[in-house]
Amino acid sequence: MNKNRDMTSVPLPASIIDRHKLSDDTSLFRVRLDDPETARSLAVIPGQFVQFSVPAGGEAPISIAGLPGSDGVLDLCVRRVGHVTDMIHALPVGSKVGIRGPYGNGFPVDDWRKRNILLLAGGLGIAPLRALLHFLLAHRAEFGEITLMYGAREPAAILFKEELAELSGRRDMHLFLTVDFASEEPPGGLTCNTGLLPGLLEGVNFTTKNTVAAICGPPALYRCMIEELQGFGFPPDAIYLSLERRMKCGVGLCCHCAVGNLFCCTDGPVFRYADLRGIRGAL
């Protein structure tokens, strides 16, 4: 997995084999490395990301949003926000792209065995947590209770709706959805609360004992979620956050993503709150 550490290492040739729209500004791109050998041998830890290159546009760090199966296809859920992501969105199926990675530490799933897992996703934060959830469900027996709480701006902004509908039928996990504004019914028969994610937390019954929380979302979400979770009795070392920073290389060289004396790309992007607490500007 570390064989691509080189900053200037060449993005591996890859192709978009499928794409579909998840919301107005977000689409899921299914990308496969052109070399089948490498594609199959891709080992991914949930929470890791790749550097996604679009020729003549550049690169952007994108979380791996699902575990690559035996076909080695990467699920990359990309929101259009600027130069590179605009260009990615303009690419039709079949386009040639480049992939470096996977990079980053990912969630320490090995340490979490036997524990209850609370996944808290805000907006696009669902992307890495989806990979995590897939992992947990694939190894269901090794973990305790699994709860996913997911908040989106509005019903139309909920990503992976069909998949969520399916998950909501599962007995071996809990799913809670909330939207900030509900001007319409959520599609696909999803049950959905109205209000912000922290509010949802309050209304739901769950155990904090032997539980770890994994959070991913916009910067503002972290601040209030952490307060909330601590209020519920979560110790700082049971709260895991996946952070976003500007990144140019993904391998600890370009020096844009430091959080205190840690690098988001190589020490993270997943951090324990315990390790971020004292760091100015971390959240």
Binding site: T8, T85, G252, N261
Partner: protein, 331 residues
């Protein structure tokens, strides 16, 4: 007594002897009167009595801008071939040698950057002793003792005592044999480092001077011109940009020196900035220079060359943070 002395008059022959090891570069003076490392075409171009060059030697390892990848539909992303020849970099002061050692830990320790590695292998480093001026403070950051050289020249009135620091250095000394004469060794001397203890202690305990009024003062005056980090031998932040060709098919990816005091350094999509103001950016700069992060965590990056103090148009000096602290410690 050792056969290690090169009389000053032998410098031209010395340069000739170096030629087979690579193109000789060293301190020169541009026609603008700027001290800069450049090719030494003839001994008269060499300025061994220089104080400090404007850009540090890092430009030989990480050029200010370079194409790191090319793209074409057939070949996809590729490294452009490196064309750099072997270079003998002559006349490096100990601080610059230490600066290169620091970059080595970042860019080669874990085999991180192939371009850096290749260029580094093609570089022969020849150091020379120096006399500090009012901007120098290498002693205070433990960078005064020569290290990380292939060859080092200790200067005396009549010439240079030569030490080798690597097998390549030995080779050069062997080639130099006819030029060397016998001379008594120099007495060991150490530089006064009044301030070293303060800096090292602060760095050691991860001091961030959270309450210092200097941050605001720096932030108010800094022009974000970038000079301090461009001219810093150990600053290596870089930006990556990619541009398409006019043929509509090919592209080039550039790597360019960046600076933590620029607006865009901590900015993410949508205009959110993790280091919104100059104050936050100065904390970042301090963090990198004195506390480190990533592979350099815990290492003091500053080598005391004094460049940032000299090139800052508004005379901002991070050392003042420690000075203030030093003052407070005095009874």
């Amino acid at each position: 007594m050792a056969m290690d002395f090169l009389p000053t008059g032998s410098i031209p022959s010395f340069l000739e002897t170096l030629a087979p090891f690579g193109e000789v570069h060293g301190p020169t003076m541009t026609d603008d009167g700027v001290s800069a490392f450049g090719r030494i075409a003839s001994p008269t171009g060499l300025r061994l009595d220089y104080q400090r060059t404007l850009l540090p030697p890092k430009k030989y390892l990480l050029p200010p801008v370079e194409t790191v990848l090319t793209y074409s539909p057939g070949e996809r992303y590729r490294h452009p071939p490196l064309t750099d020849e072997n270079i003998v970099l002559f006349g490096l002061h100990p601080c610059d040698l230490k600066g290169i050692a620091y970059l080595d830990t970042v860019f080669t320790a874990r085999g991180s950057d192939p371009r850096y590695r290749v260029r580094r292998q093609r570089l022969t480093l020849i150091g020379i002793s120096c006399e500090p001026d009012e901007n120098c403070f290498c002693g205070d950051v433990d960078a005064a003792d020569p290290a990380n050289f292939d060859l080092f020249l200790e200067r005396t009135a009549a010439g240079f005592h030569i030490t080798s620091g690597s097998p390549r250095g030995e080779e050069i000394i062997a080639a130099l044999a006819p030029l060397l004469v016998e001379r008594a060794p120099l007495p060991v001397s150490r530089r006064e480092c009044a301030f070293a203890s303060v800096i090292m202690a602060a760095a050691g305990r991860g001091e961030t001077f959270p309450d210092s009024h200097l941050w605001e003062d720096f932030a108010a005056r800094c022009l974000s011109c970038g000079a301090c980090s461009l001219c810093c031998p150990t600053c290596y932040c870089f930006d990556i940009r990619e541009y398409g060709g006019l043929d509509g098919a090919t592209a080039e990816r550039l790597r360019e020196w960046d600076n933590c005091l620029f607006t865009g350094h901590g900015e993410v999509a949508g205009g959110f900035n993790f280091r919104k103001n100059r104050r936050d950016r100065f904390h970042y700069r301090y963090q990198h220079k004195y506390l480190g992060f990533g592979p350099t965590r815990g290492a003091v990056a500053c080598v005391g060359c004094g460049r940032c103090r000299e090139v800052c148009p508004v005379r901002i000096d991070l050392l003042e943070l420690f000075k203030e602290e030093g003052d407070e410690q005095k009874p």
